[in-house]
């Protein structure tokens, strides 16, 4: 009877495709929008992810997220180094500075100044040059996306392609000379600005004059040290905020979740996908059942039990659900793959796959329940009505 159930379903091509399209649309929209949302939120703490070496980030206690810069006095670094359980502590400058391009335009860049001695906090992947080249005079390392897009030089002829920034090129950052000595790859930032690495001293010389310029202190805990306990000791001993890398990511993530319209906007898109998918698939599946009521009645009259009909409908719902889910997730993956090298943030995690699967299961259960109720209440005497 299961084969017959499938033939009943697939034989009505129009409705079959309608149900599949509804579920595919729902699955695609839920998966795609959730992946873009996750990608975007991941970008908010991309810098923290890239700086994997330090265990603890120390900052002003009023900092709410990674880009909320409230600089410290340089002397704070020595206080942190004196806290028991700290293996080492290095300064990190982080700031938004203007780079002047060849055409006279300015581009805001995300500048990271690394500890002069150790260069801790450098980019996770070098494409050209090496991190130690930062020891050369006026040197900077630029991320590849920034070099190829916003920092690229104007084309030689009108309408031509822009010329990517390359090693040896010179920029002006806040009227100071900066020589590109390397190209690196980093996680994209939330605002998609070019990322520039240099030494702490050079970064603070690029930055406008301020009394305090130390953005963060990166801390490595001594071997066997409990990170939470060390954070507590730093907080109590210095009055500064101290977070493990994961806590700082969560702080940043939660700030964007609570204080921006991003989750609401994406939530609405996901909810719309769910509602429209439910409406299309549910309505079409119900219509399919309605049009087949006479045949379900015939099966009932011929001795098919309610349980058998229920299993047939559940099978039909499962098949369209599985196909719709697969096509939707496949479509979203293809979307992510094709736009992988662009500005689009897209991160498809297994949690999103579970979320999308759960949504499709809810849709098909709702659709099937309405249909099942109708078939269960069906009087087989319907077959004698012409």
């Amino acid at each position: 009877m299961y084969a017959i159930a499938l033939k009943m379903l697939m034989g009505d091509r129009g409705k079959y495709l309608g149900i599949i399209m509804g579920l595919t649309f729902a699955s695609l929209l839920i998966t795609q929008q959730s992946s873009i949302f996750t990608g975007l939120m991941t970008r908010t703490y991309g810098t923290i992810s890239d700086l994997s070496l330090p265990d603890i980030w120390v900052m002003d206690h009023k900092v709410q997220f990674i880009d909320d810069l409230k600089p410290l006095q340089d002397t704070e670094l020595y206080r942190i180094r004196s806290v028991k359980g700290v293996e080492w502590a290095v300064p990190l400058y982080k700031g938004l500075l203007k780079a002047r391009l060849d055409n006279g335009n300015f581009q805001i860049c995300n500048v990271l100044g690394l500890d002069d001695a150790t260069l801790i906090g450098g980019p996770p992947m070098m494409i050209e040059g090496s991190l130690s080249d930062l020891r050369r005079q006026d040197s900077i390392i630029v991320n590849d996306v920034g070099a190829n897009t916003r920092l690229a030089r104007p084309p030689k002829e009108p309408g031509g392609k822009r010329i990517p920034l390359k090693v040896g090129d010179v920029l002006e950052i806040n009227d100071r000379r900066a020589v590109v000595v390397g190209i690196c790859r980093v996680s994209r930032t939330f605002q998609s600005q070019p990322v520039i690495f240099t030494t702490y001293t050079r970064a603070t010389s690029f930055a406008p004059r301020e009394r305090k310029l130390l953005s963060f202190i990166l801390v490595k805990a001594a071997a066997g040290e409990d990170l939470n306990a060390l954070c507590d000791r730093i907080r109590k001993g210095t009055g500064l905020a101290a977070y493990t890398a994961q806590q700082f990511k969560d702080l940043t993530y939660n700030f964007y979740m609570k204080n921006t319209g991003i989750p609401i906007n994406f939530g609405i898109a996901v909810a719309l996908g769910f509602l429209v998918g439910t409406a299309i698939a549910g309505q079409t599946f119900y219509n399919f059942t309605l049009e087949n009521l006479r045949y379900f009645g015939t099966l009932k009259a011929m001795g098919a039990s309610n349980g058998m009909l229920l299993r047939m409908i559940v099978l039909q719902a499962l098949v369209v659900g599985a196909i719709g889910y697969g096509m939707g997730v496949g479509g979203a993956s293809l979307f992510g793959f094709l736009l992988g090298g662009t500005e689009l943030s897209f991160r498809l995690t297994k949690e999103i796959l579970y979320l999308s699967a759960a949504a499709i299961i809810i849709i098909i259960v709702l659709s099937a329940l309405i249909s099942i109720r109708r078939v269960m209440k069906l009087e087989p005497a319907i077959v004698f009505k012409s």
Partner: protein
């Protein structure tokens, strides 16, 4: 065994439909016997209770009062599951609108009652093929119902009603959608293949062109059987 030898025994069967405050008595005390090996026609004007009576006999409607036994079994007294199983194994149906599943082939349509009764697919297809040969449609097994004429579709429906060897076949207006020649041919197939010494046929019709195929004709009016006529079938 009070009704031994009878396919159907009805005594004082009453059925009332209730819609809101309105009550309509569809059957007002039906007394009827149908013997095995017999083709009985139920005839009468629209609304006289023919369809209600065969629905009660086939166990898809419960009557309110009286007795209705099918091969000595009171289906009203059975639980829903047992009644469904009994109906599936004992009764075959032929409908006015054929009710063939449009997306299944002729062969698949005929296998349905066997599959419902738990037959394996291979065995069901073999039996369905044999019955389709009997009704003259051995060359149409792969066709869809929509590719067949009305008469051919009704022969498929007859094959479907016969394939699981039921002891009672209930037909609802089997020829009313067919022209006279096709209707006669369908009745010939029905009499020739469905009727046997251990099986009974009940046909509801108001098509007087096929009355001569009946062994007996029970005329109904206003929920009662007014007269039962015996005749020699052609």
């Amino acid at each position: 065994m009070r009704n031994s030898g009878l396919a159907v025994y009805c005594n004082g069967v009453i059925k009332t439909y209730t819609t809101g405050q309105t009550k309509v008595m569809a059957l007002r005390g039906i007394d009827l016997d149908v013997r095995t090996g017999e083709l009985l026609m139920l005839v009468g004007p629209s609304g006289c209770g023919k369809t209600t009576l065969i629905s009660v006999v086939a166990g898809i409607l419960d009557h309110d009062e009286g007795d209705c036994l099918v091969f000595d079994k009171d289906m009203r007294a059975m639980g829903q599951r047992k009644k469904t199983l009994y109906r599936g194994s004992t009764i075959g149906f032929v409908f006015q609108a054929y009710n063939l599943l449009p997306t299944l082939s002729v062969l698949e349509n005929v296998t349905v009652p066997l599959l419902i009764n738990g037959e394996s697919r291979g065995m069901a297809e073999k039996k369905a093929h044999d019955v389709l040969e009997q009704v003259g449609l051995g060359d149409k097994v792969r066709s869809l119902p929509s590719q067949l004429s009305g008469g051919q579709q009704q022969r498929v429906a007859i094959a479907r009603a016969l394939v699981h060897n039921p002891r009672l076949i209930v037909c609802d207006e089997p020829t009313s959608a067919l022209d006279a020649d096709t209707g006669r041919m369908v009745m010939e197939v029905l009499r020739g293949t469905a009727l046997s010494s251990d099986r009974a046929l009940i046909i509801v019709t108001h098509d007087n062109r096929i009355f001569n195929f009946a062994d007996r004709i029970a005329r109904m009016d206003d929920g009662r059987i007014t007269v039962i006529e015996s005749q020699v079938a052609h």
